[in-house]
């Protein structure tokens, strides 16, 4: 197994138990190692993507735009400009002579066609090299069209996805503070770091509405430009701590003194604590009582249902590999509710603190890994005899090829996994994959049954 690990990456993997905790992370990916990471552009694109009434124009050759066309499950309750893929589709002559004029004309054309509330212009690798002045073109078009036109400095090579989050936050920060603050309640918040996959933010907003809390801006799920403009009027920024929108919260704290709390909407405890934390912040007994009532009511339906799944899933083993580590914390707890053990957990862009916390909440022997790759992941899955792997599209075929169940917890998914209802869906999805009879047919199980002998095989087939 260890032969599958690059010498240079040895310190990015920690096995809990034997040695004191130590892990290296936040490094550039190792060349040739088939990292599961994406790029700066990807980071910016995923954060801003759900803003549904803005034009998102990718300034670059066609690839960057076409691979991000309608890929997220981020829903909108109104306009759906975010689901279109706009590009300047740079050609050889643009690369030689510069793409500024093409960018200008494309912006004018798209703004004229769709009448958006704003336009985001994403820089790509090549734009960073040919030196188009995005800032100047955006400024000119903003003056001509009278809408905000915001450059996003997301050249792919300038770091990893986290650098892209920052670039996106900086672009959004230009909008914040430009809107009207009339009629905002004292008990008001912005929701940061939820992207309304499968309608999750609507669920979260409903909980807050039931607590009497007004949501000023969704950042960015089902997002609207005008809401973001007045986000500085909210009394609190509630940040789902993926890091994707943390930079914006920090910038708002500095400029507008908006306090920040970090939450997670995945899993039972984290969801409940998120609601309590908001009530605590406002020091409002009535609000806290309402939050408790929500949690009580939701759990009354959820817990008995979960029991059924728990009975079937107890003792099964799970592996987790996600983009940001925050999701992994909640997933570890969620699996515990299902009676399952997490035997491997990793992320593309976690920090040392993230990994320290992950190894603290998992059992001895658990593998904690940073910026992994198919070689390692496949060997970990086999070594740990995992029953279900949680990840995104790039992890899915690794699991399936080996005959292991899979749960998509990435931004392409179409199932709601946040909130109490999301915990139910999560349990159903895990159950629906782990308990499928197809695993009895895959080579992994067949070879096990061959080793066990015929009578044992028959017993397994019947079970």
């Amino acid at each position: 197994m260890t032969a599958q690990i690059y010498e240079e990456r040895r310190n990015q993997i920690h096995r809990k138990g034997k040695k004191p905790f130590a892990i290296e992370c936040d490094k550039e990916s190792l060349a040739g190692a088939v990292s599961q990471r994406a790029c700066v552009f990807c980071g910016s694109r995923v954060v801003l993507y759900p803003i549904a009434d803005a034009v998102h124009l990718v300034h670059g050759p066609i690839g960057c735009a076409v691979y991000t066309w309608d890929i997220r499950g981020a829903l909108s309750s109104g306009p759906e400009l975010h689901r279109l893929s706009f590009s300047t589709d740079l050609r050889e002559k643009d690369v030689i002579f510069g793409g500024e004029k093409k960018l200008h004309d494309a912006l004018i054309e798209l703004i004229d066609r769709y009448q958006p509330k704003a336009a985001f212009v994403y820089s790509t690798c090549i734009v960073g090299i040919i030196g188009d002045d995005l800032e100047a073109v955006c400024k000119k078009v903003a003056a001509e069209t009278d809408i905000p036109v915001l450059p996003v400095q997301s050249e792919g090579f300038k770091g990893n996805k986290r650098a892209g989050y920052e670039a996106a936050c900086k672009a959004m920060f230009r909008l914040v503070g430009t809107g009207d603050l009339a009629n905002i309640s004292r008990h008001s918040i912005n929701i940061l770091g939820d992207f309304n996959l499968a309608g999750e933010i609507w669920l979260i907003r409903d909980y807050f509405a039931r607590m009497g809390v007004e949501v000023v801006a969704n950042i960015t799920g089902d997002g609207r430009v005008d809401d973001i403009k007045r986000a500085h009027g909210a009394a609190l920024n509630v940040v789902q701590c993926s890091g994707a929108t943390m930079t914006l919260a920090e910038m708002m704290k500095e400029k507008y003194s908006t306090p920040v709390i970090r939450v997670s909407y995945f899993g039972i405890e984290d969801m409940a604590e998120s609601l309590y934390a908001v009530a605590d912040h406002f020091q409002d007994e009535e609000m806290l009582a309402k939050a408790k009532k929500i949690v009580r009511e939701e759990l009354e339906t959820l817990l008995p249902e979960l029991k059924k799944y728990r009975a079937a899933l107890t003792g099964k083993k799970a592996a987790i590999y996600v983009g940001g580590a925050f999701k992994a914390f909640s997933l570890v707890k969620a699996f515990r509710h299902l009676g399952m053990d997490v035997v491997m957990v990793g992320s593309q862009t976690g920090t040392k603190e993230d990994y320290r916390e992950l190894q603290e909440i998992t059992d001895d022997g658990t593998i904690v890994v940073d910026d992994s790759n198919p070689l390692e992941l496949s060997s970990f899955l086999r070594e740990k005899e995992v029953d279900i792997f949680v990840g995104g599209v790039k992890e899915r075929p690794i699991a399936y090829k080996l005959g292991i169940a899979f749960c998509d917890h990435n931004h392409e998914r179409k199932e709601m996994l946040a909130g109490f209802a999301g915990m139910m869906n999560f349990a159903r999805e895990v159950y629906g994959s782990v308990m499928s009879p197809v695993w009895k047919l895959v080579p992994r199980k067949q070879s096990q049954t061959t080793q066990l002998g015929v009578s044992e095989a028959a017993r397994i087939a019947e079970s």
């Binding site: 060349a31 990292s35 994406a38 066609i62 076409v66 759906e80 690798c125 090549i126 090829k401």
Partner: protein
């Protein structure tokens, strides 16, 4: 292939954005409005095609010399169609590499891939970034080979220049094939083999092709061959490089083959592996339209008869007979129906020919490719069979396709998954073919070519039209 009709779709959550207030046609061509910006492109980028082609060569790891995102995005896109792992290595260039050059990362990447994957070959494709910063791939690779020294494990390195700004995924695909041939082919003794350069076909198509060649007793080198590498069985152990792909030893002897068959009529001669083999080694190149439909398949089989000196095997005579019989049985359901086609140029040409011969009007043939030959080849393939000559547009995006399609009032759409929004908007069926199929299972199992492929396609088209009629009928007969 699957269909969607959405006849009674009342779900309005997918309301289209406001229609163009005042479209500004730029360089208006015929009846089509053209724009400066690209909205919903009908093409992919050049390195993606190169990765797909390299994936079809035995023991090969596709490698992108660029930043990490390119490899990851392409992997995700390819995985979502094939539902198979595809490891694409990357130089993972960072900011300092963009300034000082990516040579060191490329060398380290090659070393790491060699150590862990033990490939027979690494197919190195460049990206926008490395082309623009001016990395000299030949020099870097030359240095690498010198530094690494001669070892038994050293993989063959094939290089191809694929900046996304100079073509679509198909140019990248053909460039990778050509580069593999140029790098690997040696002057060899004449042999009886036949080279097939199939272009971008599905694994099911390639399996069919192999069967056909075997039935004709022809030994074929099919390059590339993704039939196993992108459609493999469930496994007990993860294979870093899946089995299958065109054997490297076979590629080496392509120069001695009896003939080359190259599917695709829009490939530029200078990008064609077949032309290269003819010029360099005197292997006669037979360029055929992709064998989609009766006529194109007949021409392919006629050539195989000549090359093999054998008559068409009985099973294919029978398959053809059944196909013609079914076309007769179902002709009324589809006659005069109007179809919008889009996708890679060679697939569009093949489909247009098939539709024309069964009485469907391909009213709009569209591609994001830009060979300069699409219109001519579509007209050749439809050969006067259409009441009105099809409109054919290159370098087009889905926004432009949608606008023109709405005016042409089509009955069905034929193409990959990205036309679903258009099908939904017009409430007409989408027959899924080609790549990518991202909204159905089984994209890798779609058979497009030969009599069997035509049969499956015909059944889908006819049944889609029958379903529309049935769904719209106030009576709803179960007996059509």
């Amino acid at each position: 292939m699957n269909t969607d009709t959405n006849i009674n779709n009342e779900n309005d959550t997918h309301t289209p954005p406001p229609s163009p207030k005042s479209p500004r046609p730029v360089g208006g061509r015929g009846r089509l409005s053209r724009y400066v910006s690209t909205t919903n492109a009908c093409k992919l980028c050049k390195p993606l095609g190169a990765c797909l082609a390299f994936r079809g060569i035995e023991g090969t790891v596709p490698y992108l010399h660029g930043s990490q995102g390119c490899a990851t995005y392409m992997r995700r896109y390819i995985i979502s169609h094939f539902n198979e792992p595809i490891d694409i290595a990357s130089s993972s260039l960072g900011e300092k590499n963009a300034i000082y050059g990516g040579g060191a990362n490329l060398k380290q990447g090659l070393k790491n891939v060699t150590d862990k994957y033990r490939p027979k070959m690494v197919g190195i494709a460049t990206t926008c970034l490395t082309e623009t910063i001016g990395d000299d791939l030949n020099m870097i690779v030359h240095e690498y080979l010198k530094e690494a020294g001669e070892t038994a494990e050293a993989p063959i390195l094939v290089k191809v220049s694929t900046p996304s700004y100079s073509g679509t995924h198909m140019e990248g695909f053909h460039a990778a094939v050509l580069s593999a041939v140029e790098t690997l082919c040696r002057k060899t003794l004449a042999n009886d083999r036949v080279n097939i350069l199939p272009g971008f076909l599905s694994p099911a198509d390639l399996r069919y092709l192999k069967e056909v060649m075997a039935e004709f007793d022809l030994e074929a080198t099919i390059l590339p061959d993704i039939s196993e590498t992108l459609d493999g069985p469930a496994l007990d152990e993860y294979q870093l490089i899946p089995e299958g792909g065109t054997p490297i030893e076979e590629i080496r002897t392509m120069g001695g083959a009896e003939a080359t068959i190259e599917f695709g009529s829009t490939i530029s001669p200078k990008e064609s592996g077949g032309e290269y083999l003819e010029k360099t080694y005197g292997v006669e190149n037979h360029r055929l339209t992709m064998p989609v439909g009766v006529g194109a398949t007949d021409r392919f089989f006629a050539l195989l008869e000549t090359l093999s000196g054998q008559e068409i095997p009985e099973r294919y005579v029978k398959a053809r007979g059944r196909l013609i019989d079914s076309l007769v049985d179902g002709h009324k359901y589809i006659f005069g129906k109007r179809a919008v086609l889009y996708g890679e140029e060679d697939l569009v040409v093949g489909l247009a020919g098939f539709l024309a011969e069964i009485g469907v009007q391909p009213v709009l043939c569209a591609s994001g490719g830009k060979s300069g030959r699409l219109r001519e080849k579509v007209l050749e393939a439809t050969n006067g069979l259409c009441e009105v000559d099809p409109e054919a547009y290159e370098d087009i995006d889905f926004h432009e396709i949608e606008a023109r399609a709405a005016e042409l009032e089509p009955d069905l759409i034929i193409g990959h998954s990205k036309g679903y929004a258009l099908a939904r908007k017009l409430s007409i069926p989408l027959i899924r073919v080609g790549f990518p199929i991202h909204d159905r299972v089984g994209g890798q199992r779609i058979l497009h070519i030969g009599h069997e492929g035509a049969q499956q396609l015909f059944d889908l088209i006819a049944n889609a039209m029958i379903q529309v009629k049935q769904d719209r009928s106030p009576v709803g007969y179960s007996y059509m």
